[in-house]
């Protein structure tokens, strides 16, 4: 068995949730990484959609920003950001949204706005971006986030993105017709909301993770599902494809002006070259 890191385990576990016929709104960073790993391993037909307007992007390297040229160049089509949020997302055409988080609570609500008071924050985080309405309009939401006491908190400093609210029927009562978070992938476990209470409950532990380690990384008393499985370890192919993806990405992002201009550009005589 190959060695792997806990973050690799997280990405691999998340990638396995996606199927070849899925249509998924991919947040940049770890969500996009898991989505593209799925595409490269077992879901070659997956449709990945980015908030920059790129539809069915098939990037060869991971985008650094959600608006990298690689996304548009490999996409079926690119629409305006307004159209993406209005017709594609709000119109209810995207079954899965894949998000990251800075802070998350036990009901899958997310904070990416501030640590501390909104008006006088200790740490000003980036803000909501696409997440609030991705979580509202996609049929269901997958979340990928590393576990830590600072991230998995009893109470959010700020509710940026609504998950299951205060649990139970809170989400429906707040006016959502969509399912919200249905699964959370971390570097230690896989969580799913309890069908009734909607509290996130551990359904699978990654190999070698103890319940004690779990409790030390989460700011509330963890619930476990009746049956807790062990997450299958990454396969050699999963690890190889993931590492190759990282390696291509690092090579591409280390230089300057590395955006290779491809066939879709209307003036192929205009090329970037590496000046770094």
């Amino acid at each position: 068995m190959m060695d792997y890191t806990s973050v690799e385990m997280m990405t691999v576990a998340a990638s396995r949730a996606l199927q070849s016929n899925d249509i998924c709104f991919a947040g940049v960073g770890p969500p996009s990484e898991a989505c593209n790993l799925a595409r490269l391993v077992h879901a070659p037909g997956i449709t990945l959609i980015y908030e920059s307007g790129a539809v069915r992007a098939r990037p060869d390297v991971l985008p650094l920003s959600v608006g990298d040229g690689e996304l548009c160049e490999t996409a079926l089509n690119t629409v305006s950001v307004a159209e993406m949020f209005r017709y594609w997302l709000q119109g209810g055409n995207i079954p899965i949204g894949f998000l990251g988080a800075a802070q998350i609570d036990r009901f899958g609500n997310i904070n990416t706005t501030v640590v501390g008071d909104y008006r006088h924050p200790r740490i000003r985080l980036p803000g909501g971006g696409g997440a609030p309405e991705i979580a509202g309009s996609c049929g269901q939401v997958y979340i990928i986030v590393k576990q830590s006491r600072r991230g998995f908190v009893r109470e959010l400093d700020f509710v940026t993105t609504f998950g299951h609210g205060s649990g139970g029927k809170s989400r429906q009562e707040t006016g959502f017709a969509t399912a919200g978070p249905t699964i959370v992938f971390t570097d230690m476990a896989v969580w799913r909301p309890d069908p009734r209470t909607k509290e996130l409950s551990v359904v699978s532990l990654h190999a070698g993770v103890s319940r004690e380690q779990m409790q030390n990384s989460v700011g509330w008393e963890i619930k476990y599902a009746d049956k807790v499985e062990e997450t299958p370890v990454p396969t050699p192919i999963e690890l190889e494809r993931l590492r190759a993806l990282h390696s291509r990405t690092r090579a591409a992002h280390s230089g300057r002006h590395q955006g290779l201009i491809k066939a879709q550009a209307s003036r192929p005589d205009h090329r970037a070259r590496n000046t770094g």
């Binding site: 940049v28 908030e51 920059s52 307007g53 650094l64 920003s65 959600v66 608006g67 990298d68 040229g69 548009c72 160049e73 690119t78 305006s80 950001v81 307004a82 949020f85 209005r86 709000q90 706005t113 909104y118 008006r119 200790r122 740490i123 000003r124 985080l125 980036p126 803000g127 909501g128 971006g129 696409g130 609030p132 309405e133 509202g136 700020f158 509710v159 940026t160 993105t161 609504f162 609210g165 707040t174 006016g175 591409a252 992002h253 280390s254 300057r256 002006h257 590395q258 955006g259 201009i261 550009a265 209307s266 003036r267 192929p268 005589d269 205009h270 090329r271 970037a272 070259r273 000046t275």
Partner: protein, 286 residues
């Protein structure tokens, strides 16, 4: 429609970007109008309301140089790298001056631009349910559907005094082509009172698809040729994104002194012409 809209970038900024103006700099990762921002910094504009979905390095620089009183935004990060340290310093420590932030989600911000572009005072959309932002942004209210009675979010239109964008090219009549990731440029231009566009080049014929994103000359007030004007972001078909510069910004911006020294060397002591030397395009002899 007159030829006089072609002008050097310093003249355009001097004429259209006034102290206290609300100024949208649009471009969603792609075609970010850095050259125009640097010229605005050089001209020492103050009290601006800076409007942009993704503040990015461009607003980090402007905020750090004291141009801004207010910032309208929906995602304030250095994409894939980290936080915006100069913007944080302003929000958390009021350096170099306190700034007011007015914050939306992307969907809300996009709808606010759509309202502005459409000549409406607000736009209705399905969002902001159960979250905290409406407590802090007075531009978020609700409206009831006059048919079914459903309550929906409403956002106030954004109509900046000036929109500034960078685009691939213009023709001699001042019509401008934007292609690739087109973001919210069209909406920002339609929503704004005035528009300044920097372009990579002027061409005889835009030579694009009939349904491409073309902004007609009569909507634009100034068109300025600034090759490389989107660096370190990119111009699809011309040059790629300088990701290394985005990564380096994280340490440049970490410290006030380092930041100010960098800005002096790379912005204050420069002219728009320097952008051409930061990228290489039209490498006809491959």
């Amino acid at each position: 429609m007159s030829i006089s809209k072609f002008m050097p970038l310093p003249d355009a900024i001097a004429e259209y970007v006034f102290d206290g103006a609300s100024v949208a700099f649009e471009g969603f990762s792609h075609l970010v109008p850095f050259a125009a921002a640097h010229e605005t910094i050089r001209q020492r504009r103050q009290g601006l309301t800076l409007v942009r979905m993704t503040p990015d390095l461009i607003f980090d620089q402007m905020i750090g140089m004291g141009c801004a009183d207010r910032v309208f935004f929906s995602y304030a990060g250095n994409p894939g790298v980290g936080l915006l340290r100069r913007m944080r310093d302003a929000v958390e420590n009021a350096w170099p001056n306190p700034i007011e932030i007015r914050e939306h989600s992307h969907a809300a911000f996009a709808n606010a631009y759509v309202a502005g572009a459409s000549g409406l005072s607000f736009m209705v959309f399905r969002g902001y349910r159960g979250v905290d932002l409406p407590k802090f942004n007075p531009d978020i209210r609700t409206v009831r559907c006059p048919f079914g009675g459903e309550e929906l979010a409403a956002v106030r239109a954004i109509n900046p005094d000036v929109a500034i964008i960078h685009a691939q090219r213009a023709d001699h009549a001042g019509n401008v082509l934007v292609e690739g990731i087109v973001g919210m440029q069209k909406e920002a231009v339609f929503a704004a009172e005035r528009t300044v566009v920097t372009v990579e080049e002027i061409v005889e014929d835009l030579n694009s698809h009939p349904n491409a994103c073309v902004l007609p000359g009569w909507l634009l007030d100034a068109v300025c040729v600034v090759p490389g004007g989107a660096h370190p972001s990119y111009a699809q078909g011309y040059y790629g994104r300088d990701n290394a510069a985005y990564r380096e910004w994280n340490s440049i911006s970490a410290d006030r002194k380092t930041f100010l020294a960098w800005m002096k060397t790379h912005v204050l002591d420069q002219t728009p012409d320097v952008f051409a030397s930061r990228v290489l395009w039209r490498e006809d002899a491959a």
